[in-house]
């Protein structure tokens, strides 16, 4: 069991409140997944610069002087914003791959959570309320965001096993369920050159979508493909720089509820997660159909 929440805003006036609303939704889903929590938030564009969210188990040592060291390695301007065990590095666009290689040398053991123009991912082991507090998710604004509360099944309770997973620029995925063909698919995708860091089944799902999109598929087409190529139980919620998608496997035993108003599209594993959203009483509320791709774009 896991809990998923997601919010895709249509009304710009709600953007400053995105983190606040998502935090309430996330905490409501604590009893579906109390071991870890994470959130992907699509915030402000960094003026054409790329953002890398990194995580370290020893943040003080890892982040001390990191901006300077990375700036020197890349011969470029790098800034750092430290938030608990995570830090957001801003660097010139196009330097992400170079930065990843440099970071692996400068700070072995540090993990890259996400890369892109607007995405930031924060995830840790612990109760969702505590995780949200550590990163002050309430204070974050943005256009859309996805949160996950985890009850581990397929891999250990660790930071890297927590969701969301990001395997491509500004892409992220969260999952409720379990995939049964992830080992074979991981080997196949690695042969294709897709980066997969963990033993987790969901990361393979994310990497699969990234691989499909690298080969020309739209997110909608990639999600359609997942219905053919992924074996197991899944309700997926995915984010891209300007999009938000949902798909459930054909058996659809993992719960899902959606709500849409003029102001937002919201996803919850249970209706409980949606009850405090503005105007929910008059929202269109429905259960997404099995094997059906839902997708919204800004």
């Amino acid at each position: 069991m896991c809990g998923i929440v997601g919010l895709f805003l249509k009304d710009k006036s709600l953007e400053p409140k995105l983190g606040d609303m998502l935090t309430d939704m996330l905490i409501t889903m604590t009893d579906r997944g109390p071991d870890s929590a994470g959130i992907a938030i699509y915030g402000a564009d960094a003026d054409g610069r790329a953002k890398l969210t990194v995580q370290s188990d020893t943040p003080e040592a890892a982040f001390d002087g990191l901006d300077g060291a990375l700036a020197e390695a890349l011969s470029a301007d790098v800034s750092i914003r430290v938030i608990d065990t995570h830090a957001v590095l801003e660097l010139p666009a196009g330097k992400e791959e170079e930065a990843r290689s440099a970071l692996a040398e400068l700070r072995p053991g540090m993990r890259v959570m996400s890369a892109g123009d607007t995405i930031e991912i924060y995830k840790e082991v612990g109760l969702p309320e505590k995780v949200a507090e550590r990163f002050n998710v309430r204070g974050m604004g943005g256009s859309h965001g996805i949160g996950h509360t985890r009850m581990a099944t397929e891999s250990a309770v660790t930071t890297e096993g927590a969701h969301p997973f990001s395997t491509g620029s500004d892409q992220c995925l969260v999952h409720n369920g379990s995939l049964s063909n992830h080992n074979a698919l991981r080997r196949k995708l690695r042969r294709e050159g897709v980066r997969i860091e963990s033993q987790n089944d969901t990361e393979v799902g994310a990497a699969y979508l990234t691989w499909k999109m690298q080969n020309g598929a739209t997110l909608g087409e990639a999600l359609e493909g997942s219905l053919e190529d992924l074996d197991g139980f899944f309700t997926f919620v995915v984010g891209t720089k300007d999009g938000f998608g949902v798909v459930r496997d054909p058996i659809a035993c993992k719960p899902a509820v959606m709500a849409e108003t003029d102001q937002y599209v919201a996803f919850g594993s249970e209706y409980r997660a949606l009850v405090n959203l503005p105007g929910i009483e008059d929202a269109k509320v429905w259960e997404p159909e099995p094997a059906t791709v839902y997708f919204w774009n800004h």
Partner: protein
């Protein structure tokens, strides 16, 4: 009429207050406000009380119901009225997966749509859905009636026993050993009564009946290779 604020007073207090009436012939009416999608609202009741939930519910609302009438003025999450023995449960909105699962008796009315696995393993319950139902409904159904005014999804009645299914709209596909059957006068009578009790505006003659072909009841030597 007694009003109970679920958000202010909690679930345990509600269910213990309602279950205290179990075994009595008390016909009081209860109204539950601020359900906010909570789980297990009004479960395990066994007295002829009337409970109205003012909003949508989470998992297992009105589970194991006996005698009571529970009305949800909203939509219901997974497992509404599961294992119901008697009484009536009415959902004004939609119901999520496995509504009325394993129910032994009573009447479940869903005024909107029901999603997957509605009536799975039903054992005597009557279910009337005013809208559509999803896939794998009435899987392994043993007894009772499932009435659908709209359409049915894939694999209706897979591996069913003696339950009856009446569908007015289209059936996407029938499950293993489920077939269309003749609608005889006694079925029209059963359906007429159920539609009236469920407040459904439909004519029994508009429905088709489905049920078990009974070919899975006994071992068939031609299937030996499958094992």
């Amino acid at each position: 009429m007694q009003t109970y604020d679920l958000e202010a007073n909690g679930l345990r207090g509600l269910n213990s207050a309602l279950q205290e009436l179990n075994g009595s012939s008390n016909k009081t009416a209860w109204e539950i406000v601020n359900p906010k999608g909570s789980h297990a609202i009004a479960v395990g009741l066994n007295s002829p009380i009337e409970v109205t939930v003012k909003g949508s519910t989470g998992y297992y609302c009105a589970g194991m119901n006996q005698q009571a009438t529970v009305k949800v003025e909203g939509s219901a999450g997974p497992g509404v009225a599961e294992n119901m023995m008697s009484g009536t449960v009415i959902v004004e909105g939609d119901a999520s997966q496995y509504a009325g699962a394993t129910g032994h008796g009573g009447l479940l009315v869903i005024k909107g749509n029901a999603s997957s696995r509605c009536g799975i393993s039903m054992k005597g319950i009557d279910i009337v859905v005013h809208g559509n139902i999803g896939h794998m409904c009435a899987f392994m159904a043993q007894a009772g009636n499932l009435v659908v005014l709209g359409d049915a999804g894939d694999a209706l009645g897979d591996s069913c026993y003696e339950a009856r299914f009446f569908v007015r709209g289209n059936v996407k596909s029938l499950g293993a050993d489920c077939i269309e059957k003749e609608m005889r006068p006694e079925h029209i009578e059963i359906l007429k009564d159920l539609l009236a009790r469920a407040g459904a505006d439909a004519k029994p003659e508009e429905f088709k009946r489905y049920g078990s072909a009974r070919t899975l009841y006994n071992f068939d030597v031609d299937n030996a290779q499958a094992y």
